[in-house]
């Protein structure tokens, strides 16, 4: 069942509206964080050879490694989707209509250039689109940390260009963090992963949500984890019922 959640504080709500993101330090901690780290590393070991083969076949990119079907690999990946540290915020921002679209359990190797440039995920005509980026291990400055342009989620902001160097984006904010930090952000806003000039790859999980609309509800998408969705709230979150 979905644990009891709390909505945003007035300060969080104001920041969400003004800047488009909220940083939640220690959103995951202790035994739960350790369990997530262990599940993450186990999945990497299990999936890496297949990923390397797909890279060699030109079917996927070599500059980031996403675990396929993570929700089916370990229950912890399901449990974080409605984690109380952020789910109450999501429900507040979507007026109780949060729909989960999918996870990216992602390892990003060190590379001279960030694997992605500045971008917004969806146009503002799209229903409200929210991502939660969770740092599975510490992500220090200059190690591929998430960065966001505060206020870029608002209608009338910009226009924004795509600078070749990540640090050249005017007004951006780098968001390094300790393991267990979660960053909730509005995907209308401009964001990127900064260059990683360290020797440590980045491990993070990106959870993708949207305000529910009928056309985005596909009951088959998460049917494999239906046995873990025993409450109406969770079944609604995973779109198991139209």
């Amino acid at each position: 069942m979905i644990p009891e959640t709390v909505g945003p504080t007035p300060e969080q709500k104001a920041q969400w509206e003004l800047e488009g993101y909220i940083v939640l330090e220690n959103a995951l901690r202790g035994a739960q964080l350790q369990r997530l780290q262990a599940a993450f590393d186990k999945a990497v070991v299990e999936c890496k050879e297949d990923w390397l083969a797909r890279v060699a076949r030109g079917e996927t990119m070599p500059t980031c490694f996403d675990i396929p079907q993570p929700l089916e690999r370990d229950e912890i990946f399901v449990d974080i989707v409605d984690h109380p540290s952020w789910f109450g915020l999501l429900q507040d921002f979507t007026d109780g209509e949060t729909l989960f679209l999918g996870p990216q359990v992602r390892s990003v190797p060190v590379w001279p250039v960030s694997y992605t440039g500045w971008h917004a995920d969806v146009p503002m005509s799209n229903p409200l689109h929210i991502k939660v980026q969770i740092y599975v291990e510490d992500v220090d400055e200059k190690s591929g940390e998430f960065a966001f342009v505060p206020g870029s989620h608002r209608a009338g902001s910009g226009p924004y260009k795509r600078p070749k160097m990540g640090e050249s984006m005017p007004g951006h904010r780098r968001l390094p963090g300790k393991a267990g930090t979660a960053i909730v952000f509005n995907s209308y806003g401009w964001h990127t992963a900064m260059d990683n000039t360290t020797t440590t790859s980045r491990k993070s999980i990106i959870l993708i949500y949207e305000r529910r609309t009928p056309e985005k509800v596909h009951p088959d998408t998460f049917k494999a984890i239906a046995p873990l969705c025993t409450t109406p709230e969770r079944r609604a979150l995973f779109g198991l019922e139209v």
């Binding site: 076949r57 030109g58 990119m61 500059t63 590379w111 001279p112 795509r162 070749k164």
Partner: protein
Amino acid sequence: MVRIDAHLHVFAKSSSLFPRTSTDLAPSDREESIEKFLGFMQENTIDQAMLVQLGGPQIAEHAYLQQCLKTYPDRFLGIGLIPPNCPDPKAHMDRLAEGGGIVGFRLGTLGGPRDPFAPIDVRTFESYPIWQHAAERDYVLWLYIRAADAHLTAYLVEAFPQVRVVFNHLGICPGEGKFRVDEYGRPRIETPSYNPSLHTVYRLARYENVTVLLSGQYAFSKQAYPYEDLMGWHRTLYNDFGADRLMWASDAPWVYEEPGYGQMTQLINQLMPQISESERAAIMGGTAQRFLRFPQRCSLP
């Protein structure tokens, strides 16, 4: 305004004068002569072109290419090949380049770790001596890198900022087992619609020594000419690299039958309608003239 075809192949029938390796694409009795190509140049007002070696990497196998370059020194420049496991790649490169005309070398592999998470030291890459020598002698490197090596290019480009780098065919890095010859005798490369090069080659736009050929569309597109499903890739390359680092090329002779050489000379108009006339001029020849240092010559009448 100069118009340059920045990548194509010519070859003779295999003979003692012009020995070459036979392949499915270029069997030993097939001939695609320089005279035939000159005819297409004349018809389509193309002034100059880059001839890319096909038919084997050995010195002797470059004989036809070298004869073409010697016969038409103000018309053509050339790109040579280096054998795999070449014991002395530097000597090989210099020997091919010494007559003039061959200005660079095409690479398909880089010889570094397959695992992108492995520690990287570019000095251990098998291709490192080639890059080092290209830097010393100002040779161009012409990259059509296999997908397994796509992550390695950034390290070499960064290590050798003085080396001029040309990514072939929209920057695509072909995957293992994805090549075949199509019904028109052309290369066909199965490529996902979500192009993995968006997160490898296209991310190298920040390096001023990197350029990309707008060519080979027929090999990747899932549609007939003018390959409109590739407009997005062209738009991204234009946004990231700009017209001053993009070069049109035909990839002849594979296009002679379908869609036809003349059609290929019109393709940029079809796929990049948003660009200005000066940008079109850059892509159709200006960038190649500057970056590849083609000799000055008057346009064909």
